[in-house]
């Protein structure tokens, strides 16, 4: 992990780290560099992709619609709301 990659990840995740926080994150990754390299060294040629860690498949539900939640109960969770909408800082 280099600083340029970290800055890119910050942008993608809409984060803004101080230079001290950046240093801490970079140190965290640097300390584990050997672990990553050990993992990368494993030969995975001809190994089938593991689809899931649990041996379960086809956990599905039937296509039946049920009563929705009460809107007001959900809007309580919104930082701001207006006229039945979640209200967020302008993005358009």
């Amino acid at each position: 992990m280099d600083r340029e990659t970290l800055v890119k990840l910050e942008q993608l995740n809409q984060l803004s780290l101080t230079s001290q926080e950046q240093d801490e994150v970079l140190a965290f990754f640097a300390a584990r560099e050997a672990d990553w390299e050990a993992l990368a060294a494993i030969d995975t040629e001809n190994i089938e992709r593991m689809v899931h860690v649990r041996p379960m498949t086809n956990v599905l539900r039937e296509d039946v619609a049920s009563q929705p939640f009460d809107r007001e109960d959900l809007l309580v969770q919104a930082p701001e709301s207006m006229d039945g909408y979640w209200q967020v800082p302008q993005v358009l």
Partner: protein, 486 residues
């Protein structure tokens, strides 16, 4: 002067015709008041777990088979991370590593003959919410009704070369998906939207040019204009250096007829796809695969051929019916209920289509089943229902469906309840005939004097009094007999 070739690939989003959303049981219907079809799962509340809707998998497989794809027998969902207020979980659940269908093709007609457009993949995913800009508060309002509505995205290879081919491809997709009842696929309703990936290169070159993507195009006419504009812009940039072409997402302003830069396009790595650990893999066994395969409809062109060669319809009638799966179902249902093919075709093409048109509905929204239409036609043919009242009855059946009620099983009983059946009481007919002749002796005498056309106003007056509820042949015979009595 260099000749150029436009290279186009489409990503087409189709909203699936399910009852409920893809990962929760909220209603799939986003036209309601904001945030009235939502729950903690589709609002991205922490700790809520998705459970995939079986019908979405069925429809994904159906679409794949209709587009000649290979079906992945193990298909999985993945998380695509990006931040935007219409995506409450901050990731979209989609398919990246093992989409439901791959490697298909759609055949379109071109002036040079049939052409296969290769399908790279079809993946299933959830839709995002809707954003509304509020001009008074300068904030953005978010409606999550559409969040988690099921979509398939059909990704073509860059095999399209001009706006005509794109139009033919989209129309063919729409027809196939409507016939298979995967979706209404209506661009004007937003249930079919296309992203257009376009680049330009010198004709004959194998190397692709710089690609731009125009997102969420919602009409074929706008797509045509956007393709023409973008092609000209790319050629101008290449030939005259008017600007540096960059890989980016662009918007299309249809009023101004121009595209505009929205953002530099993310790469796949930026989305940090990873398998969704909350949704177990879906394994499609032979029984499931075969069941979906057996449910596929005849293609429209196969039905056309069948209707003409084996049922004996004219090309005009067969073409009109095979524009719509609902028309075909109604036609076949009416015949199964005993209607003659030509009668059934006429009632659908003329009367049903007329009512649909008047109500601003599409042919795929025909609410009258073939069994009901077949019974209605039998009542008219049997002289129990006048043709005019048959049309009234049909209109009434549309009203029933519009109110959300079930179409009655017994159409004769329904027609009787509605007071539309012909009177079987000849005494009533004779009384009306006598009254009409007595009220207009001059016209009656004119008929007796040999003016045959004088029968028409008398017949019309009888029909008016009977409110159209009679066997017209019986009435005519009674009227003539009464006049001849002198």
């Amino acid at each position: 002067m260099t000749a150029y070739e436009t290279v186009i690939g489409l990503e087409v989003h189709i909203e699936l015709a399910t009852n409920s959303k893809i990962f929760c049981s909220c209603t799939n219907g986003s036209d309601a008041d904001p945030n009235t079809h939502v729950c903690p799962a589709c609002c991205g509340m922490p700790g809520m777990l998705p459970v995939a809707n079986r019908e979405v998998i069925n429809l994904g497989m159906t679409a794949g088979m209709m587009l000649n794809c290979d079906i992945n027998r193990t298909t999985t969902f993945d998380k695509k991370s990006y931040y935007y207020p219409d995506l409450p979980a901050s990731y979209q659940t989609t398919q990246w590593f093992a989409p439901v269908a791959v490697n298909g093709h759609v055949t379109i007609e071109t002036p040079e003959g049939p052409k296969d457009i290769r399908i790279k993949q079809i993946h299933m995913e959830e839709d995002a919410g809707k954003l509304v800009h509020d001009n008074l508060t300068f904030t953005t309002l978010v409606d999550f009704n559409r969040t988690s509505v099921p979509l398939i995205e059909i990704v073509s290879q860059p095999d399209l070369r001009n706006a005509d081919e794109v139009e033919a491809y989209l129309e063919r997709l729409r027809t196939l998906l409507r016939f298979a009842k995967v979706s209404g696929a209506r661009m004007e309703k937003g249930t079919m939207r296309a992203d257009v990936n376009l680049s330009v290169r010198p004709a004959g070159s194998q190397e692709l040019g710089v690609r731009t993507e125009m997102k969420n195009m919602a009409s074929i006419a706008a797509i045509r204009r956007a393709i023409e504009f973008e092609t000209a812009r790319h050629i101008d940039a290449i030939e005259n250096g008017t600007e540096e072409l960059v890989q980016e997402t662009r918007g299309w302003n249809d009023d101004a007829g121009t595209s505009f830069s929205m953002r530099t396009k993310e790469t796949a790595g930026d989305y940090r796809y990873f398998p969704d650990p909350n949704i177990m893999p879906i394994v499609i066994d032979d029984e499931w695969f075969d069941r979906i395969k057996a449910s596929l409809p005849q293609l429209p062109e196969e039905k056309l051929e069948h209707y003409m060669a084996e049922i004996g319809l004219s090309e005009y009638d067969a073409s009109a019916l095979t524009q719509s799966r609902a028309f075909c179902d109604c036609f076949e249902g009416a015949m199964a209920a005993g209607a003659a093919a030509k009668d059934a075709a006429n009632w659908i093409i003329t009367n049903c289509a007329g009512i649909l048109n008047k109500r601003g509905m599409t042919s795929d929204e025909l609410p009258v089943p073939g069994s009901a239409l077949g019974q209605l036609i039998a009542l008219v043919d049997g002289g129990k229902l006048s043709s005019a009242n048959g049309k009234r009855l049909l209109e009434t059946l549309f009203d029933v469906a519009e109110r959300g009620e079930a179409i009655p099983e017994d159409i004769a009983a329904f027609a009787e309840t509605e007071g539309l059946l012909n009177s079987s009481d000849t005494g009533e007919l004779e009384a009306v005939v006598a009254a009409v002749i007595a009220a207009d002796p001059e016209t009656a005498q004119a008929y007796r004097d040999g003016r045959e056309k004088a029968l028409n106003p008398l017949f019309g007056a009888c029909m008016q009094q009977l409110k159209g509820k009679c066997d017209t042949q019986v009435l005519r015979e009674l009227l003539i007999a009464e006049l001849n009595k002198g």
